[in-house]
Symmetry: C2
Subunit: 220 residues, 2 copies
């Protein structure tokens, strides 16, 4: 079994922690980064900087020129829809869902894994996502695993190692690893400093508090 | 249940027949066309002409600028690999497999279906593909169906109506519908006339013979 693993890496704290955790475990980590026409590329720039700094092979898949906007209205891709403030649990957070985004990213990552001979694809879904994102739930991971076993000559395993963890527990792993969270961007807005108000910022702030980490990012 | 159906339409004879068959059955057909960096765009041009001619809503998803070439060596996207001649069954035909292509296209079509409120996505896998394309098999369709049920708030059904038919039987359906197969391009090469020698041409020629249709395309 190959030691290679393809990690879907957004540049946020969850996938940053996951990437570093696999790396610490001695896996041959290959990162896939997606430009899917996000409102801003700040998270992606953070991801590239980390991958380049550590010499982690990485591929940027550019989905921004493919007519992705056809895939429906989401505040993450449609700049006319304001980023909702408040918690993930709120109904307004449904606006941040890009239709079928995780299946699309996983499908591409699986194709990439096949092409480089990696047996595993990992993504950073966690329990805090479950309530609102259907494609972060265990049933989804299990169903994707079933299809990834048979879609190509080479079976690929899907791992979502954080699926039962809260964001706070992920931050604890990062703390144990001694991670520098100034290298992970979280805010849905792409200004010089994170806003501290959007759902993503609020969840990050609470997770850092839970783990007893002082967030190295300065908020607006 | 919505009458809308998203049909993955390549411009070849199988998906052309499928599109027209759903249309004849009174479904509200929406076509999705993929430019995935094929060697040539002739099939896609045929598809667009048909869709425009019949007023079928269609979206072209352009995957050619996204770094797709990273997804491994295939004669369909890598112009340095010659198109193999001979039958699909041959080992050389493995070269025509783009890693995880069907899962990627289905994932995008599912996202599109969710965004327009369509309950079904259809693609034209048929029994002749089974031997070499894992993602044309019934197990794959079933597994994709399982994941498409739970990946979004709105369940989507995957249909592969030709999965138990041979290409010849598909041509018979087209004959019954009175289809004009000059509107479907098949050849892997993109020259003025189809080559008549590649696997795709050979399968088409045999299917037409099986159904007793005179192929309106003139071969080289």
């Amino acid at each position: 079994m190959s030691n290679k693993i393809v990690v879907i890496y957004s540049g946020g704290m969850d996938s940053y922690t996951m990437l570093m955790n696999y790396r610490a475990a001695g896996r041959d980590v290959h990162a896939v980064l997606f430009n899917y026409g996000q409102r801003h590329l700040k998270e992606l720039e953070y991801a590239m900087k980390v991958a380049e700094g550590l010499g982690i092979p990485h591929k940027v898949v550019n989905m921004s020129k493919m007519g992705w906007e056809l895939l429906g209205g989401s505040s993450q891709t449609d700049k006319s829809i304001p980023v909702p403030e408040g918690h993930y649990e709120d109904e307004t957070m449904r606006l941040t869902v890009v239709p079928n985004r995780n299946m699309i990213m996983l499908s591409m990552a699986i194709g990439y894994a096949v092409s480089i001979g990696a047996g595993t694809v990992a993504y950073g879904a966690h329990s805090g996502d479950h309530a609102i994102y259907p494609d972060c739930r265990r049933e989804f991971v299990d169903a994707m695993n079933a299809v990834a076993q048979i879609a190509n000559y080479q079976p690929v395993k899907i791992e979502a190692p954080f699926q039962d963890l809260s964001k706070g527990e992920i931050a604890e792993i990062g703390k144990d690893l001694g991670l520098d969270y100034s290298k992970a961007w979280t805010c849905y807005n792409g200004r010089a400093k994170p806003c501290g108000k959007c759902g993503a910022c609020q969840e990050r702030i609470e997770a850092m508090e839970y783990a007893g980490i002082e967030d190295p990012l300065e908020y607006e």
